[in-house]
Symmetry: C2
Subunit: 240 residues, 2 copies
Amino acid sequence: MDKLNMGKHISNKFNEELEAVRNRVLSMGGLVEQQLSDAITAIQTADVELAEKVLSNDHKVNKLEVQIDEECVHIIAKRQPAASDLRLVIAIIKTIADLERIGDEAERIAKVAKESFSNDQQQLLVSLENLGHQILTMLRKVLDAFARMDLDAAYEVHRQDEQADRQYEALTRQLMTYMMEDSRSIPKIMNVLWSARSLERMGDRCQNIAEYIIFFVKGKDVRHVSPESIERTVKGDRAP
Amino acid sequence: MDKLNMGKHISNKFNEELEAVRNRVLSMGGLVEQQLSDAITAIQTADVELAEKVLSNDHKVNKLEVQIDEECVHIIAKRQPAASDLRLVIAIIKTIADLERIGDEAERIAKVAKESFSNDQQQLLVSLENLGHQILTMLRKVLDAFARMDLDAAYEVHRQDEQADRQYEALTRQLMTYMMEDSRSIPKIMNVLWSARSLERMGDRCQNIAEYIIFFVKGKDVRHVSPESIERTVKGDRAP
């Protein structure tokens, strides 16, 4: 709270609006997290009903994105925020775009849960679930970092993506080997591969959100810069 | 020009700033278009050098994104735009994010051009090139629509994505059949599949940009709404 400088506004109404829109982002994040968690559980337990629930809930995520976007544009037009307030609104606009796309990817994973797999193929799904849990942990951590605008936690998420990428590559190799050994399985395994790719992309999006948090707190755009440079930014002074 | 209401600002400086940032978006768009075009040509002619050029040029796209983003935040803070000016700035912030990701996908396609393919596999590449040309046409059209803030052109691009999706699905089936017939080819064909997926995603991003154009001109967010509803929006009145 202190970090967000909420106390400094002359207008209480402005405070309330910023706080409301931040809370809404956290609700949206919670919903997306639930969607991913349900999609993974649906694969784990071959629960078609739960997969259907994920598919039918996606529109709620989309609706929240459009609503929050509107609120942000409204705040900019009415309150004409500057400095850190403006950075917060911009960070929110970008964060919800990534959250919405994470929701889309969760939907793709839920579709895989609706297929049936042989006992043999179940082994591959375990690796997919492992990657899924790793990404879910990243998502939780970055949402938590967003809630507290915690720079160190954001940086940690940013670094974790590399680990997720490695796990994704190992899984891809495993899946390709399986396809080469049993070519009839290709269409089915391809769906597992797409899911793995979806998870890997979600990791990238968590990394994006971490970058928006760093942008908000430090006032520096750290996209497309080296990890070392980000580390210097995180450890340096705070922006005004 | 008339559509953009550029004449109405009291401050000439503001006009110039908005115009400068719009031109920069068009430069970025031109660069991304060139990257995609080069990536497709590199595959077509097995030109490793051209592929390398695409890879080494990606940082220019990234740099432009960060610069334009900064300019937009600066304009909001300094000029406190309202109504259609604010919508333009928001549309720009979102458009460049999609353009940057299209650039990333072009980079992925260029990587495939660095591999060698058998005569037999060349046939599959032709299908990939066809999809590539379709997406390139969509990208050109949406950038042109952006330059003129042309609602009808934006709507046309929005509809074209469906066609691109169908072509992508046909290509995917073709590639899977090939893999099933020659399992040793799997790792190589997988790269072609990823490229096809990259192209399909680029189409989605062109569709996103079309939606931002509609948002700017009509003041309505048409994401996640049915094509019929978008058509009604496009054909209805203009926003203030």
